[in-house]
């Protein structure tokens, strides 16, 4: 290719030569690195990865073990409420239940409160699709044309805000945590905001523009399963209301699996709880609104601390340990086989 200019003048007669160019590319002589599986490279890759995996595995297991986690399944404990909710005509009746638990030791550091759902297929294709991102951006669009059906408009044509199956099925239990200290009950201060991704809160979700929220949502109606319209999700905090409500945003980020947990609240580290949750008796007071019994779902509330590797899930650590061990063992096996073969070879060569 490059040589063409150098090459032609030499042969530059009236009839140019048809001799192909002598370029490394055309002659398939490009300089190349030719890696090969040698015993050294194979063994080093096995032993190095083995050692690395073991090290990482140990770190992961240790850090996962240092995570304190309390998980309470309240779907049975609140059976009265769940029965009440099985009948949809009771939707506006309130139902509360309490779950007690005891901390034997202090939980130090940041404590996060999650709600967990089981058997809730947020990853079903039609469920995942059933939303209108444009609507959630505060744009005035015709949601008839979105995938929100059948949760897009009421029969009279009033659009739902927000529309779609995801929004409609939003988790709407409220969970409060109380610390029972010497017969006095202290409500644990919980943070509602700052629980979602910054991008979701600031880019992906926006309220329609208007002088106030209720007028912004004028002409729309709440989704059928909601108890209050979207502009009343958090009446106290303007920046956590409407579409930009953290609970709503978190719910709208659908889970990849049918069993999942979403961040619900963070313990605010003030006063008694400056170092985390002190040991003692606690009560979850739950306002039970979200029915799950129909499809055999279960609801949990989880209190957990986190470390650099996340929560208490030991899977990654164990998987690393197992892979590391396997790699190292295979390394030894390969060494053994290689030595045996080499012995055989030299034996034959001597013969």
């Amino acid at each position: 290719m490059k040589n063409k200019t150098n090459f032609l003048p030499k042969e530059g007669e009236a009839h140019p030569s048809r001799c192909p160019d002598n370029s490394a590319f055309k002659q398939q002589r490009l300089p190349a690195w030719k890696p090969q599986l040698t015993i050294a490279s194979v063994l080093s890759s096995f032993f190095l990865t083995g050692a690395f995996c073991l090290a990482v595995g140990v770190c992961l297991v240790l850090s996962a073990n240092s995570v304190r986690e309390i998980q309470v399944d309240y779907s049975d404990k609140c059976s009265d409420c769940s029965k009440l909710r099985e009948n949809s005509s009771n939707w506006n009746k309130e139902c509360h239940c309490s779950v007690n638990f005891t901390l034997k030791e202090d939980i130090l550091g940041d404590v996060f409160m999650y709600y967990g759902l089981q058997n809730f297929y947020q990853n079903h294709r039609r469920y995942v699709m059933s939303r209108s991102d444009a609507q959630l951006l505060g744009r005035n669009i015709n949601i008839q044309r979105s995938y929100c059906a059948p949760f897009s408009t009421y029969r009279n044509g009033t659009p739902m805000a927000p529309c779609g199956a995801i929004a409609n099925s939003m988790f709407n239990d409220t969970i409060d945590l109380f610390y029972n200290r010497n017969s006095s009950v202290i409500e644990v201060p919980l943070l509602k905001t700052g629980n979602s991704w910054w991008t979701d809160k600031n880019v992906k979700f926006r309220n329609p523009e208007s002088y106030n929220l209720s007028s912004a949502f004028a002409g729309t109606a709440r989704p059928p399963y909601w108890q209050k319209p979207v502009y009343l999700l958090d009446e106290k905090d303007e920046r956590n209301n409407g579409y930009v409500n953290d609970d709503f945003i978190i719910w709208m980020r659908v889970s990849a699996f049918a069993t999942f947990r979403n961040l619900y609240r963070r313990v605010r580290r003030i006063r008694h709880f400056a170092d985390g949750l002190p040991a003692g008796n606690y009560t979850f007071r739950i306002s039970y609104n979200f029915p799950v019994t129909r499809f055999k779902g279960r609801k949990h509330v989880i209190l957990s601390t986190v470390v650099w590797s996340g929560g208490s899930n030991p899977f990654l650590g164990i998987a690393y340990l197992v892979s590391g061990t396997a790699a190292t063992l295979t390394g030894f096996v390969i060494t053994g086989i290689h030595l045996k073969l080499r012995k055989k070879k030299t034996y034959f060569q001597k013969q």
């Binding site: 001799c19 199956a165 929560g311």
Partner: protein, 898 residues
């Protein structure tokens, strides 16, 4: 090729998922309708399952790699260009580069099992060349150095200077100076030898311009002999029906031509009787040694022995030999003989017999003069090429229109046939039964078992009666050759003998078919194509090879002298036969290996990609939810993984061209199609399934019931999708890195480039701006930023890579250690050899010590003697003939003491 299986596999997967969906909708989805009502029109779980089947067909159709076709075409095109561009297949003498005229057959070049070759113009140049001679017990033609060692003749060897002879043919080359010295010293036998060569022939001279002689010879052999005599100073200048004009060492002599005792196939000799200007009557005779030795005078016995030795030597080099002899005749005897000859030639009945009797009467008690050796010039490098191809387990069949003798002679000289062979069978039966018997006897000798009923192939034949039979390869108990004449071939190609011919012939290493018509050439190729599961290649240069070239899987045309028909109907063309080994062993092998690696990798990556959806189906209610972002699915085959695999299949070389030529055994796996067959396909399918399991379950496990390091939830769908697709892309990139054994800059660029393009595109698509502009298209906003910043995401990615790749490394390494394929051993040998300095390129001339007497140098047709004697073919007066205008007595010539 495997598309049916893949379709079945796809259907099976979809069926499983559809049934799963039916069950799920019945068990769970029905109750989940509070939150997610069934789609409009779906009334039952089974109907939903039915719909889901088609949804999954759409999602999983990526196992059927449609983009494969495009890539395959690109690879083939690229590899064809390499053939066009190869300077080592460019022939500078007639400025001909090799040419790939079809771009769809490259990988088949790496699987050739049978080569069908034309002889003339393909193996040989169709140029006869006076190479050596033995005169009066002295052999000429070899060149020795000072110490008496024989020197190889090459371009640098000094040629004999014929400038003393203005009539010499400048193209004639001879290297042994001693012969010229002998001529110049007026050595009598030498002079007689060349005088014979200038007189005893049926060549017609043509001299359009003075001194510019052109000989029209009936056979190239004769032309070569007369040209040799011409250069050594015995210039055959002109002939009339009665005379022959010869310029002998510058002196024009007119010989009276009294009789031509013509050549025929029985006599295998020809003689002329001439009268010199001095009035001496002499009979000059040349012919096949076997015949002429019977006619010699007893006084020549000692000379005969020496000459025989030389003849054997010549024959051993594959030269075509003739013995020449003379006899002085008594005037009286001759007058009597010519009278009887006249009578016989006018006899009405039994003329032939009478004539031959007469000929025998006079052609006896001959005095031996010596022997000539003519080289039927092979194209350069033909024996080496054939040796190399034979080592590559390629069977070579020569199909030629020549006589059996000539064909076999060439067979020996180009190393097709040699004395190491157990036997060379000659099939020349003239009835169907004869041919059958000959074939059977040959087979019995090669493989006696093959006649037993217990022989597998016989059993197989009985089972599959009449239907399309594929004859498996049979192993003979040694190396054999088979020569079959066109006549016998006609019988053998008839229905009931076909099978016999195929079984026998395919057991032989070499098959030579002589005197075959163009149609038969095609039939032979067709025969092998029909009964053997093998890729065939036909190579030829002339119009008579066109049918064969078109019939074979791959046709190769030699773009030589014989016009363009062969080239025009061929798939590949080049100028020299020896380029065939480069075409097959280098280009063919590379193309094949590249294509196989490409297919393996392509299937692997698509399986790994698609099956993750399958596993996800079990966790997402069989709802046809995809694991990855739609954009990733679109771009995966198109952008992220297309270039690295193309780079590999355009540049990969396991060993470079030099080694693949030095170790032709490396070609064998291609013939057996070892690099891509059902087993390999299943293997890469299993590897794909394994990878997809890792790629799904490691991210799943890593995300299950855990959270990010800042306490936020991690297990959302978008994060999982991003994690899974990042894992997948890195794993397949590492895998292509493992498969690539030849990392050029381009490969590096493609692989690293694809990975960085992936990240660049991902971050772009998941950016705020894209979301705000195309809200509906890019809902993954922020996922990349938020997820890829998590340490446990990267740990999961690393673990998936380790688990996908390490087993492959271990498996490949152990396989070469524990169960090395023959090609692995060769590669190991090469690896060891590479540590040492490269061996000198082998440039030895093939020498064989053969006791076989080679064919005699005649055209094997009845001669033109009668025609010449009648004078009917002569012009009444040729301008320069007989007048002797040429005066060669130049000063230079005399100066040299002649």
């Amino acid at each position: 090729i495997f598309f049916l299986q893949i379709f079945a596999f796809l259907a099976l997967m979809c069926l499983i998922l559809a049934i799963g969906n039916g069950i799920w909708e019945h068990d769970k989805g029905y109750y989940f309708q509070v939150y997610l009502p069934w789609a409009e029109g779906v009334t039952s779980a089974s109907y939903s399952g039915f719909l889901m089947f088609w949804s999954y067909v759409i999602i999983l159709n990526t196992v059927v790699p449609i983009s494969l076709y495009v890539s395959v075409e690109i690879i083939r095109l690229g590899n064809s260009f390499y053939i066009d561009w190869d300077r080592k297949m460019y022939y500078p003498l007639n400025d001909t580069p090799a040419q790939a005229r079809t771009t769809t057959l490259n990988e088949e070049l790496g699987q050739i099992k049978y080569i069908f070759s034309d002889k003339t113009g393909t193996l040989t140049q169709n140029i006869m060349c006076f190479n050596k001679c033995s005169i009066n017990g002295k052999s000429y033609g070899d060149v020795y150095d000072v110490s008496g060692q024989r020197i190889e003749i090459n371009e640098n060897t000094e040629k004999v200077d014929f400038s003393y002879n203005p009539l010499a043919d400048p193209k004639f080359a001879f290297y042994d100076h001693s012969l010229v010295e002998a001529v110049k010293l007026n050595d009598v036998p030498t002079h007689r030898f060349f005088r014979l060569l200038s007189l005893c022939h049926t060549v017609m001279p043509e001299e359009k311009k003075e001194g510019n002689l052109v000989y029209q010879a009936q056979s190239p052999d004769e032309g070569a002999l007369v040209t040799a005599a011409r250069n050594f100073g015995f210039v055959f200048r002109a002939r009339t029906p009665e005379t022959i004009t010869v310029v002998e060492m510058g002196e024009t002599k007119i010989y009276k031509l009294l009789a031509i005792l013509d050549f025929n196939n029985v006599r295998k000799r020809m003689s002329v009787i001439v009268q010199s200007p001095e009035g001496d009557l002499t009979l000059y005779c040349k012919g096949a040694d076997t015949i002429l030795y019977e006619l010699l005078h007893p006084s020549c016995n000692s000379l005969k022995e020496e000459t025989t030795e030389h003849l054997n030597e010549f024959a051993g080099e594959g030269l075509r030999t003739l013995v020449v002899a003379y006899k002085s005749l008594e005037e009286d005897y001759f007058q009597d003989w010519i009278r009887r000859h006249h009578e016989a030639s006018t006899a009405l009945e039994g003329r032939e017999d009478k004539l031959s009797e007469l000929y025998e009467d006079i052609e006896k008690d001959l005095m031996l003069l010596g022997a000539t050796a003519i080289e039927d010039k092979l194209q350069d490098g033909v024996p080496q090429t054939i040796e190399t191809l034979a080592k590559a387990n390629i069977k070579i069949w020569v199909l030629t229109g020549d006589k059996q003798e000539t064909a076999m002679n060439i067979g020996y000289s180009c190393n097709l046939l040699n004395d190491d062979m157990e036997d060379v069978f000659v099939i020349e039966g003239s009835t169907s039964d004869d041919v059958l018997n000959e074939l059977r006897n040959a087979r019995k000798k090669m493989k006696p078992d093959s006649f037993l009923d217990s022989d597998e192939i016989n059993i197989q034949f009985e089972k599959s009666s009449k239907k399309q039979i594929i004859v498996p390869d049979e192993q003979a108990n040694g190396v054999y050759g088979l020569v079959i004449t066109g006549h016998s071939l006609a019988y053998a190609l008839e229905g009931n003998l076909e099978l016999e011919l195929v079984r026998t012939a395919c057991m032989c290493k070499v098959v030579i078919c002589c005197r075959v018509t163009p149609l038969q050439k095609a039939q032979v190729v067709e025969l092998v194509k029909k009964y053997k599961k093998a890729v065939t290649l036909a190579i030829g240069d002339g119009a008579n090879d066109v049918s064969m070239i078109k019939t074979a899987h791959i046709g190769v045309g030699i773009s030589g002298q014989e016009g363009m028909q062969a080239v025009l109907s061929s798939d590949f063309s080049f100028a020299q036969f020896r380029y065939l080994q480069r075409l097959l062993l280098v280009h063919g092998r590379w193309s094949y290996i590249r294509m196989c690696k490409f297919l393996k990798y392509f299937f692997y990556k698509n399986f790994a990609f698609t099956l993750v959806h399958f596993w996800y189906g079990f966790f997402s209610g069989f709802s046809a939810q995809t694991v990855y972002d739609e954009w990733f699915i679109t771009l995966y085959n198109l952008v992220y993984t297309s270039l690295p695999v193309l780079g590999m299949s355009l540049f990969d070389q396991d060993v470079d061209d030099r080694w693949s030529m030095l170790f032709p055994q490396l070609y064998v796996p291609g013939q057996q199609n070892l690099y891509f067959n059902k087993v390999v396909f299943v293997k890469c399918m299993l590897q794909g399934i394994y990878s997809s399991l890792i790629l799904f379950f490691i991210p799943y496990g890593a995300m299950y019931n855990t959270m990010r390091s800042d306490g936020k939830a991690i297990a959302d769908y978008q994060s999982f999708a991003l994690m899974a697709q990042t894992c997948l892309l890195i794993v397949v990139s590492v895998q292509i890195g493992l498969d690539t054994s030849y990392w050029t800059v381009v490969n590096q660029f493609f692989i690293w480039g694809s990975l960085s393009v992936y990240f660049a595109i991902t971050f772009t698509m998941y950016s705020d701006g894209m979301y705000l502009i195309f809200t509906a298209s890019f809902p993954f906003i922020g996922t990349a930023r938020n997820t890829l910043s998590q340490p446990n995401v990267w740990l999961a990615i690393f673990l998936s890579i380790t688990l996908c790749v390490l087993p492959v490394i271990g498996f490949r390494f152990l396989k070469t250690q524990l169960k090395p394929a023959p090609s692995d051993k060769v590669l190991l040998k090469i690896k060891e050899a590479k540590k040492r300095p490269p061996p000198p390129s082998p440039k030895r001339r093939l020498r064989r010590t053969s006791t076989r007497r080679s064919g005699y140098a005649f055209s094997h047709q009845h001669g033109f003697g009668a025609l010449i004697m009648s004078g009917r073919n002569m012009r009444p007066k040729s301008p320069f003939a007989t007048t002797g205008t040429f005066s060669p007595n130049s000063d230079k010539y005399k100066h040299k003491g002649l």
